[in-house]
């Protein structure tokens, strides 16, 4: 596209009173190398008249707009000009509202920002989406339990083709093994018939759903829209093409053989899973002698909430035991049920069910620390407990004990195996070989043919659950187009799993619809730009393939990286990682930011600090400080980046070689509770910054001139002070000795 520029300056909101616009125009024209007559000003650029000015120019052929007005976070509808490159320069928040009006500082800041805006527009181009051919919009659902069936039905009912793969011979999962379900609707008192069988029927009859039973996924290769999934069944294989995946592979009960201290192994001690099977068959009897059980004790948190077993709550066991207590009571009038709990957890309206059970005189409930299960006469058992509501150290006789065992996600075993492999790999090839030979390989779920491993990486300290790291965005995984649902993700009830599965199905639909248009998915679900590397300069160093948080870059047989573009989330981590600086987006590149940095005016006797700010959190925080009119240190120049992961080290030398005195990175919190929307951006930037020492040493500069600060969006009132602190430290070090060159 041949560019025709238009530069616009708004005088409103204090900009006209803070900056000499004539000087700004002269400077922008000179340094931005644009004719002075294309720089126009308006009293209120966002007003209908102001916008008319811009629109008239567009009619005359102007297609590249640099708008010096307010923050790009506001007035987005007003300054939306489809088909034109639009670069917004934040003169209001970063100058008028935060600098001393009509000071040399304010003028200098405005000059720098306008010039940078012009350079950005000059270096950028109008993006066009990259749409890969032969895309599939079909969805793969792995797992045919409550979550998987729901996901398949919801997607099929929305008009999408679905392939459902179930490992077992029959659909239904644990839901099909239940005798009754806990009440789900008002007044939350009556047990309900399992609804799963209707769902199974519906799935099997649905014209949009193809079901594979007794089948496993042998391989998942490709990328969203183009996933080739090899399904293995009875020794034969079939490959289907799908666009996205819903992983609903559920859970396994915690291994009760590890609960010997709670009596497991004794004939009349069973698990809640065994209790369901028994209730479904008919009477509730004792395994030892087949006698009807009349005094049934339920031990809650059998394994769960226990540092030695499962350090989490399994979420449904309290309601399940209450339900099973009702089985006991309904099947035999004179039977009693006793529930020993740590805390009864029946959140929300399930509380009403708990209340109704409390009203049953045949159900005894007590908080207790169960200290042991011992033998009593006649095959009975003593439940020994401490700190109960009935007193300290009690001993109660029961003829059947039910352990409320918890859940282990199906992702846990593969994750542990793969973690072990990574650890062994760190010790060398020999250790890895020993590990592979000596460790039994668990059942894998997706068998991804991806550079970064065959399964979805789970969060640290999530005990194998394929959970999202974000409260607000429950379907984020590190593998684009693959969404987890149900108990594989978090412990949850069957009703919750059905809702969750609908959500995962929606995300899968979004994914196939977005790749069909060449648009990224969350969190840049509007972005049509994509990384476009100049491969001729690639040295196959593989940093990009290793650092990409989403395993979007593979290597060919020669070790040369290539993109699986539909896996890409457009964070720019590859752009930051590349030492050859070959990765560019149409509106964001190493050269673009480098040139912007180099354009910043540096006076010999003045300190100048560059702040690279994450546009998701740090930048809004800076805006918010400005809205509160907190003064920003006039020595800094702020440049937003997609994510700190896109920070390329060459920018450090670009800056320092031109006399910049310090560089500060503002990014999201990292570590276990990371807040980075691209998982590791700020962490990677910090890692790269730690390597910066070498660069600085080469330039004979102090590494303290570079610092990454983790900042959250709500820390806006501390942020200006954090910046001041950094500037002061740099001032203590002294000016960059390169200034004089």
């Amino acid at each position: 596209m041949e560019k025709k520029y238009g530069v616009y300056l708004c005088k409103g909101c204090g900009i006209g009173e803070a900056v000499d616009l004539e000087k700004l125009k002269t400077r922008a024209a000179l340094k931005g190398k644009v004719p002075a007559d294309i720089i126009k000003e308006h009293q209120v650029l966002c007003s209908p008249e102001g916008l008319e000015l811009i629109k008239n120019d567009i009619k005359e052929g102007t297609n590249t707009l640099i708008i010096g007005a307010c923050s790009p976070r506001v007035k987005t509808d007003e300054f939306d000009f489809p088909g034109a490159i639009t670069e917004r320069v934040n003169l209001r928040e970063f100058v008028a509202w935060t600098a001393e009006p009509m000071s040399d500082d304010a003028q200098s800041i405005a000059n720098d920002y306008m010039v940078m805006g012009i350079i950005k527009a000059q270096k950028g181009d109008l993006p066009e989406p990259s749409i890969l051919p032969d895309l599939s919009t079909a969805l793969l659902v792995v797992g045919g339990g409550a979550a998987g069936l729901s996901a398949a039905l919801e997607a099929a009912n929305a008009g999408y083709q679905v392939v459902l793969v179930e490992k077992e011979a029959e659909l239904g999962g644990w839901g099909a093994k239940l005798y009754k379900e806990t009440p789900r609707s008002h007044p939350f008192e009556k047990l309900e018939e399992p609804k799963i069988f209707d769902k199974i029927k519906e799935v099997e009859a649905h014209q949009n759903i193809k079901v594979f039973k007794s089948s496993v996924i042998e391989k998942t290769d490709g990328q969203p829209g183009l996933l080739d999934v090899t399904i293995g069944k009875n020794g034969s294989s079939e490959t289907v093409k799908v666009g996205a995946v819903i992983m609903a592979t559920g859970w396994k009960p915690y291994d009760a053989s590890k609960l010997e201290h709670l009596g497991y192994g004794k004939p009349n001690v069973i698990t809640n899973v065994q209790m369901e099977e028994m209730a479904k068959k008919g009477k509730i009897t004792r395994p030892s002698d087949g006698k009807e059980a009349k005094k049934v004790a339920f031990i809650q948190c059998a394994g769960s909430r226990d540092a030695n077993h499962l350090p989490y709550c399994s979420s449904f066991c309290c309601a399940t035991s209450l339900k099973q207590a009702k089985y006991v009571r309904e099947k035999s009038d004179d039977a009693i049920a006793m529930i020993f709990y740590k805390d009864i957890r029946t959140p929300g309206q399930t509380e009403l069910f708990y209340k109704s059970m409390q009203n049953d005189p045949g159900v005894l409930l007590t908080k207790a620390e169960v200290t042991g299960i011992s033998d009593a006469p006649n095959g009975n058992l003593y439940v020994e407990a401490d700190n109960t509501l009935l007193g300290e150290k009690i001993k109660v006789e029961a003829d059947l004990v039910v352990l409320a065992t918890g859940i282990v996600p199906s992702t846990r075993a593969p994750q542990e195996y793969l973690d072990g492999l990574t650890e062994a790999g760190k010790k060398g090839d020999e250790a890895k070989k020993v590990y592979l030979e000596s460790t039994p390989k668990p059942e894998f779920i997706l068998n991804l043919a991806y550079k970064q491993g065959p399964e979805i990486p789970t969060l640290e300290n999530a005990y194998g659950f394929a959970d999202s790291g974000f409260i607000c965005f429950q379907y984020e995984t590190r593998r684009t187009g693959i969404y987890a649902a149900g108990c594989v993700k978090q412990p949850m009830t069957m009703a919750d799993a059905a809702e969750d599965a609908a959500g995962a199905a929606l995300k899968a639909i979004q994914c196939v619809e977005h790749v069909a248009k060449g648009i990224a998915v969350h969190p840049r679900a509007w972005d049509i730009t994509f990384p476009d590397p100049l491969m001729i300069k690639c040295t196959s160093c593989k940093r990009c393939t290793e650092e990409c948080p989403f395993s979007a870059i593979e290597e060919d047989e020669k070790g040369t990286p290539f993109y699986k573009l539909n896996r890409c989330r457009r964070c720019g981590t590859c752009m930051g990682a590349c030492p050859e600086r070959i990765v560019s987006f149409k509106d964001f590149s190493v050269d673009m930011v480098g040139t912007m940095i180099k354009s910043i005016e540096v006076d010999e006797d003045e300190f100048r600090i560059i702040v690279l700010a994450c546009e998701n959190d740090a930048y809004p925080a800076l805006d918010s400080a400005a809205i509160k009119r907190i003064k920003l240190n006039p020595k800094v120049r702020i440049i937003p980046v997609r994510c700190l992961g896109s920070m390329n080290l060459v920018w450090v030398s670009d800056g320092f070689s031109r006399g910049i005195d310090g560089m500060m990175l503002l990014g999201c919190k990292y570590g276990e509770n990371y807040q980075c929307h691209f998982i590791k951006g700020s962490e990677l930037a910090n890692y790269r910054f730690s390597k910066v020492k070498e660069t600085l040493d080469k330039l004979q500069l102090e590494s303290d001139r570079c610092q990454l600060v983790q900042v959250a969006i709500n820390e806006y009132d501390k942020l200006p002070e954090m910046i001041n602190d950094f500037v002061e430290r740099v001032e203590e070090i002294g000016p960059n000795p390169f200034k004089e060159f």
């Binding site: 209120v44 506001v74 957890r345 908080k367």
Partner: protein, 417 residues
């Protein structure tokens, strides 16, 4: 696929926003109708989320950005649904738009706020401070356009804001309007209110100054709150160093709310960390019936429990009284495990007030069935209408997000039939 038909989302809190954005990003047109002047609902009022202790405005910012970048979402604020008729695929809805008195020309320069002589209780901060009648609720809000409170504004007799506004953005003559919409599906996401603690007479709710609600605590701890994030007790601005949390304040109580409000245990544990972080020499006592921290939240419970400055006691608080001289608050608690009665004084008490569905008091027009407590009964909803989040049962943000995302696929089923 058939023609694209619109989906209506009633409520612009986190559930409604999620339902709207997720639906729109799957390719449908969406209209959000929000009763207040700004989006974000309860989540915008929170200081941090449990268990990550991350700021909720981070997720709101992303969702607002998704809206700004999506041409298929229309937002009506200060809007209330007046009527709903028709059926799935063809609902007719009328929406009343209350005047904002500020138009789209507003640049949020704050000049109107500076000159406005009217001070009114700040609802966003649960009355803990005052705001001007021309205001925004917080500085990361959306839409980033001021509003003038029609009830408190002195109108044209004053009009100082009109004079000072350089952008011709204030129109005190603005009148209510009605818009008619035809939509294929409707999402009900009108959220929840805090239980009115003045009904908890024995706990001194609404009567004792230093007895506050958990939501007020969120505002006190928030940077954009009445005290700039410094937790100070309301009566005298003293730093509270000895604080009690009373769980199930209203919840799990036949006389008040018979259900469990789901979030309060985690919320109090979280708020204990606010206090312990801000005042390392503070002591926090939490009185509970059952500690309910489902799933991996358990780990957060362990973390807080391990803090020697936090004491957890299973017990029901029987009575709260005020020492009118000092402003301190006295609690009488039955410690059920030790089987004795504790009487203790605190600087401040936080009532973990329960969740009440907004539909308890303000029903949504249309044929909708509710439980005694005001929850929507999903099974009785008309085809094409869906309730999400805390309208069905008390839930946390994570579950609301799952539910709202799940509902998005159902709206697509309704709108593309």
């Amino acid at each position: 696929m058939a023609d694209k038909k619109k989906v209506l989302v009633i409520g612009g809190g986190f559930s409604g926003l999620t339902a709207a954005v997720e639906t729109a990003e799957a390719g449908s047109d969406v209209v959000i109708v929000e009763k207040t002047a700004f989006l974000g609902g309860r989540v915008a009022q929170l200081n941090k989320y449990f268990p990550k202790l991350c700021p909720p405005n981070c997720g709101l910012e992303i969702n607002f950005k998704r809206i700004k970048n999506n041409a298929d979402i229309t937002i009506y604020t200060l809007a209330e649904v007046e009527s709903i008729s028709g059926q799935e695929g063809n609902f007719n809805v009328t929406v009343k738009l209350h005047p904002r008195f500020v138009n789209d020309k507003c640049t949020a320069c704050n000049a109107c706020n500076e000159v406005c002589p009217v001070e009114m209780p700040n609802e966003f901060n649960y009355g803990l401070d005052k705001t001007k009648a021309a205001y925004i609720n917080h500085n990361q809000t959306f839409p980033f356009t001021y509003v003038i409170d029609g009830k408190h504004c002195k109108g044209k007799a004053c009009a100082k804001c009109v004079e000072v506004c350089k952008y011709d953005a204030i129109d005190l003559d603005m009148k209510p309007e009605t818009v008619s919409l035809n939509v294929a599906a409707i999402v009900l996401a009108t959220g929840w209110e805090s239980y009115d603690i003045s009904k908890l007479d024995n706990l001194g709710g609404g009567r004792i100054k230093n007895v506050i609600t958990n939501m007020q605590m969120e505002r006190l701890a928030s940077q954009n709150g009445p005290t700039g994030g410094k937790i100070l007790r309301p009566s005298d601005g003293k730093e509270p160093k000895n604080i009690a949390f009373v769980q199930c304040a209203g919840s799990r109580d036949e006389n008040h709310l018979p259900y469990c409000s789901y979030i309060c245990c985690m919320a109090s544990l979280k708020q204990a960390t606010y206090l312990r972080e801000q005042y390392p020499d503070s002591k926090v006592s939490i009185f509970y019936i059952d500690m309910r921290t489902p799933g991996r939240y358990e780990q957060f419970y362990w973390k807080v429990k391990d803090d020697p400055g936090v004491t957890l006691t299973k017990g029901k608080v029987a009575k709260i009284t005020e020492d009118t001289k000092t402003g301190d608050v006295e609690l009488v608690v039955e410690d059920v495990l030790a089987n004795n009665r504790i009487t203790e004084k605190y600087d401040m008490v936080v009532l973990a007030a329960g969740m009440v569905p907004s539909t308890k008091d303000s029903k949504i027009p249309g044929e909708i069935s509710y439980t005694h407590e005001g929850f929507v009964v999903p099974a009785f909803l008309k085809k094409g209408m869906f309730a999400v989040g805390s309208l069905k049962s008390p839930v946390d943000v994570a579950r609301s997000v799952q539910d709202a995302t799940g509902v998005a696929i159902k709206t697509i089923q309704s709108s593309r039939r």
